[in-house]
Symmetry: C2
Subunit: 313 residues, 2 copies
């Protein structure tokens, strides 16, 4: 059973239990309206040694930052600011006090930079591998929440930064080169938290998510949820080192992917640039189709690359 | 560094970040007031194969129930009903689709019995051991929330059920006897969810927590938080099979431990009995002391057993 097969099995099984006000609609976070125009969003992510990281290639401090960053990215993708996290850590006896202190140091540094409180968790032993589970909670206006299901026919499709650095960096690390700029992006991904909150406040932004498994895989979630297709202009994809395949198929870039009302793109792009100092990358448009597919084009002509995203198992 | 040493290190490090309205005061759950007289409580617990369970001794379905039950117990200890959970599962290749489906079946059965929604989570691969992380969320009146810090001098101390079954059951399992009644209690602990919500609504109930590490260890959390000591009447401890040491030192009983205004115990006990069909067990009283210690007495005379609770690492 694939990762998504198991998730679908679980979703089908639990339809007979009332959701108690929670919206669990396949977004980066689950959503809980808490009265007035206020909402909480909650996400959780588990990192397992030798699956998501290799102890020799990642310092404990870096891993502390990364474990938090990937969850902050999911909260940013909903359009709300992160306010709090819970952290569970299972430590084998060969990862002792020093490892734990360094990990917590990295986690704390990013928490402080982002003003995110640590409000709970669990510490326990493990037989041999380190396991980390982070829960992140965002809080803000319900009307700012962005859903994957909100893309509309004609919307412009944007990404919030260059893609492929993490995949290229992983290649460097596997080749034993730990200190390249791309390796640093893989080891220390940065969540687009400020961008996410700003985009949450813009009514012309419709659907949003973060890119964790690669554009070729992740964009399909928006297309399925919004019942539409996408045309992607391959020549517009902001690929690090011009490596389009890594940009499209590589995981862990943690850039925001979002759709914008086609009538407002000029004003939107200049407001975004005024805020963040760079223009978001226009990579395509939402199109009508019975099939939730990505249509790749180059200079207006359809191409058929065999691009797939990254899956965890 | 011990489990509690690491938690204290983390707590000291994070004092420089604003808590954003969350109360993280060393209770079974962290607390978030969300407006009016409403609050959320959140708890998280990680279960690691060969530390918290052995695959050969626990069926996947049982483990699904247990992973949820221990978190429901933490929510019950706050005096609120559980409403939702998030579930993260890391599966090695030798725990395949059948294991995952059986685990989810057990988790779903208890979720449905308790009306608790599954609203999010993560599924991923693991190198060799199964790891489960559950987050449980409770929601209800802020004024019903019970804290460890609320015990008062003179309070009567109660436990909500018999103690020691889980520790005795673990001994049976380690001796290869998987099917004894105590082994069943170890494999399938039951959270006192209904009792917790009812106790939350009673103003004469002051401090409350659940017994996960044993009375000798857990009671100290109430004593530290409430700046007091406790006299425990050893002859009143409701020990399964009369084994007081297992009752006091054994973990994973998941019975509620709570203190009650001494002026109201008779009415409280009969109302509890009318509701649940049995009397709660009066085991001691809160006493004044500069030292947060447990004073064990038998027939009014002090005894000095070397009893300690269970720690995870």
């Amino acid at each position: 059973m694939s990762e998504f097969g198991l998730i679908e099995h679980i979703a089908r099984l639990f339809v007979d239990i009332d959701h108690r006000g929670w919206e669990t609609i396949g977004d980066d976070c689950t959503l809980l309206p808490i009265g007035g125009d206020e909402a909480l969003v909650v996400t959780t992510d588990m990192l397992v040694e030798d699956v998501h990281f290799v102890r020799e290639a990642t310092s404990a401090e870096e891993l502390g930052r990364k474990a938090l960053a990937v969850n902050l990215s999911d909260v940013a993708a909903m359009g709300l600011p992160a306010v709090a996290t819970l952290l569970s850590v299972a430590l084998p006896s060969n990862a002792g006090e020093e490892w734990a202190r360094e990990f917590i140091k990295g986690y704390h540094t990013l928490s402080k930079e982002q003003g995110v409180a640590l409000v709970g968790g669990d510490t326990t032993a493990s037989k041999d591998k380190i396991v980390i589970n982070v829960v992140a909670v965002g809080r803000g206006p319900l009307s700012n929440v962005k859903r994957r299901s909100a893309a509309k026919i004609g919307d412009a499709i944007y990404v919030g930064g260059q893609l492929g650095a993490s995949a290229l960096g992983l290649k460097d690390i596997l080749a034993g080169e730990y200190d390249t700029p791309n390796a640093a992006r893989h080891r220390l991904p940065v969540a687009q938290s400020q961008e996410g909150v700003w985009l949450g406040g813009r009514a012309e932004v419709h659907a949003m998510m973060d890119l964790s498994d690669g554009l070729a895989s992740d964009l399909c979630h928006i297309l399925h949820a919004s019942h539409c297709a996408a045309e992607i202009f391959v020549e517009n994809i902001p690929a690090v080192e011009g490596d389009v395949e890594s940009a499209v198929c590589g995981g862990e870039d943690y850039k925001l992917l979002f759709t914008v009302d086609a009538d407002n793109t000029e004003c939107f792009e200049s407001d975004f640039e005024a805020q963040f100092g760079f223009r978001p990358y226009l990579i395509g448009q939402i199109v009508e189709s019975a099939k939730s597919e990505i249509i790749w084009t180059e200079q207006g002509r359809r191409v058929n690359p065999q691009w797939h995203g990254f899956t965890h198992f």
